[in-house]
């Protein structure tokens, strides 16, 4: 699934929804970016911690799991638009039957996946319906 350094490098972002924001144009970035897509070199990037609330833009119930996610199948994968603006890809925990486009969700801390040569378990952010 992934190498150990590749995961730990972004630990703050994965654990705490830490992204970035451009002071110049005001756009928020999650996953974090170091170059603003609007201002490029004239942008001023600073860290920003997202609230962790948003809504489902679209989703799918994955039956054939990605490598390292077999024990979680079937699982709901969604694109979630955070209230601050940017969108991200995440699993949504909860009854697959109740998922719908536009559903309000909030972030939670969960096991993400496992794998690699050393059988590592990865933790990070998933989402869950906001009203539960």
């Amino acid at each position: 699934m992934s190498s150990v350094p590749r995961f730990w490098r972004n630990l703050g972002s994965r654990y705490n929804l830490e992204g970035t924001r451009c002071k110049e144009c005001g756009e928020y970035f999650y996953p974090p970016r170091n170059v603003c897509v609007n201002c490029r070199r004239s942008g001023q990037i600073e860290p920003f911690k997202f609230k962790g609330t948003g809504e489902i833009v679209t989703y799918t119930l994955i039956h054939t799991a990605a490598e390292g996610f077999e024990s979680q199948a079937p699982y709901t994968l969604a694109i979630i638009k955070l209230d601050e603006g940017p969108s991200l890809t995440s699993q949504v925990v909860g009854d697959p039957e109740k998922m719908h486009i536009g559903m309000r969700v909030k972030s939670i801390f969960r096991k993400l996946g496992e794998g690699g040569d050393r059988g590592m378990i990865y933790y990070g952010t998933k989402f869950t319906p906001a009203d539960t």
């Binding site: 996953p31 679209t58 994955i62 054939t64 996610f69 979680q72 994968l77 969604a78 993400l112």
Partner: protein, 390 residues
Amino acid sequence: MRDVAIIGVKNTKFGELWEESLRDIVVEAGIGAIEDAGASGKEIDALYVGNMSGGRFVDQEHIGALIADYSGLSKNLHIPATRVEAACASGGLALRQAIMSVASGYSDIVVAAGAEKMTDVGSEEASSALAAAADREWEGMAGATFPGLYAMIAKLHMHRYGTTSEQLAEVAVKNHKNGSFNPIAQYKNIITVDDVLNSIMVADPLHIFDCSPITDGASALVLAPADIAHKYTDTPIYIKATAQASDTIALHDRRDITTLDATVVAAKRAYSMAKLKPKDIDLVEVHDCFTIAEICAIEDLGFAEKGKGGIVTANGETAIGGRIPVNTSGGLKACGHPVGATGIKQAVEVVTQLRGDAGKRQVAGAKYGMTHNVGGSGATAVIHIFSRER
């Protein structure tokens, strides 16, 4: 810049080619295309080869050098060979590099090839290699698969435009029918809408029959300056446009999940370069890695209004004999999808059609054809327009 023509084409058989290696199939395609052109190895100035992931699929990098060597172009001739990679758009991009090389005057006779040998590894490892075309850190590590990303496109397309699973299935049904007329196709069996809907669910709403298969195969083209093309063939096919565009690597960062902006922009550039409109195009090979991808493609290329791709398909407008035949080769779905070869195979199909050599799948009187090759979930799009007349 000089006008460029295609003077030779060749596809290997597409499928599970257990007995052949990557080098075997790409040499077969390359030599076949050179033979078709009536050219000799000595005349070749450069070789471009599209290959997505030799490293993952056959544990081999340095594919350009390998292919040149086993095509007999290295030890005595020392012909430059370059591998081109843009995930599933590697082939289309190799063609684009070859066109620019000839158009610029740096080279005259150039081979553009594409190849992938995907069945040497198990299907799980192949899927993981393909997932590397997405954003590994911010999609893959959340549990995304390729079918999963396209399933999310499909889900929103259905929600917003009323597209149905039956309409998605119609794409697969049509492409299998077209594939049944293509001697090199991996799948030549006719399937029904029910077959698709009853096949196992991979990522809701996409069934296994909504997905293109894992395939071995290679394809090659020989290019020449248009001014000398008639020395080699009576039926040169001319390049009217080559265009490419990029978008965000991750699906979640796109302006609109149901539109591939890279396709929209590359198409705009291609139509402008060719001075043509969608209604002028007689057939198109689009990147149907999943059934929903063909529906988005015909919309984004201007052959159907946004949201109407499913209806247009179900009405038969994209069938051979319809308003705009799509994927006469069988597409990625039925002809097969050896990722690095696909963009070249699409061009081989269009050239074959414009030459009038497509047999039972021939589009009568075809004058202009288009190819549309996509990398990942839409981060790269490469579009070419071909013409029977210069």
